[in-house]
Subunit: 160 residues, 2 copies
Amino acid sequence: MTGAPTVADAEVSRSLRAAGLRVTAPRLAIMAWLAEHPHSTADAIGVGVRERLGSVSTQAIYDVLGVCTAAGMLRRIEPAGHPARFERRVGDNHHHLVCRGCGHTDDADCAVGTRPCLTPSDHHGFAVDEAEVVFWGLCPSCLTAGEPAHRTTNHEEARQ
Amino acid sequence: MTGAPTVADAEVSRSLRAAGLRVTAPRLAIMAWLAEHPHSTADAIGVGVRERLGSVSTQAIYDVLGVCTAAGMLRRIEPAGHPARFERRVGDNHHHLVCRGCGHTDDADCAVGTRPCLTPSDHHGFAVDEAEVVFWGLCPSCLTAGEPAHRTTNHEEARQ
DNA sequence: CTGCTTGACTTGACTCATTCCAGATAGTGC
DNA sequence: GCACTATCTGGAATGAGTCAAGTCAAGCAG
């Protein structure tokens, strides 16, 4: 939470170097933020990171997210109609629950054993390399609220 | 293809009236276009419809698509990183193959019988009402092209 | 420790899909 | 045929994300 280096930071540094990337304050801060707040939007990450580092350009946020996603350190989720979200849980192919109301996103391990849907019956000649599953519904708070009351971009994300 | 009313038009008119919607030229033209060109983008639909009717505002396109989607006559697909696409095949919950290169979309019936993934193992309190499955890969033409050569928005869509 | 090289960050303009607004037009029920 | 109002037109605006040019600093060689 403070700006002090942590054990987690050291781990991130190692991953960054392993990927041939430089270790910079914005990168450490973004990865640290995502460790605490998975499924954050680029915008929410920007807010969180600026709280720690003072000022970071939006462009830097997008750049870091793009580079780390390309390096396989992050996974990008883009629910239809909502801005992209990022998470550090990579490698397994777990899926996601997305709230139609507020866009809140949660992990969902696949129901039917391992990768149940990775083989469509008719692939039309496509070379399929990934099956993405999104479960749409309403999150607990939107359910109790009846109406999706907190449609604000990501207040609750920032403190989730 | 011509502007002449067809049997299909009559069917669409019925559905529109059943939904309490007015029957207008843009609506018939859009539904007719989608019958021949499923998975078209709003933009491609606009081009196609203007070829038949002369001039239709972008706004009308989006309005018709929105209204018909709300009425359950159309289904909207929004692959991450690509503009939304629309199709008339509704009611069944089939899934989609999306090309990472050109965005070309095709239908895929789910491999594991009916709605295999509709029950995530851990729903985190979400009230899930739909499971959306997208198979990502490369379409035949992008495969043979090696590189996704035809990245143009939707030329090939318009003549698919 | 110092200076250099090149990858990373800043700033600001821009694209693209989509939506909002106000006013004109044209389906539908009477 | 007429009135009512849903629907369409045109133009401007929004929000997420990208591009480009220039400045800065991480990390290596000396």
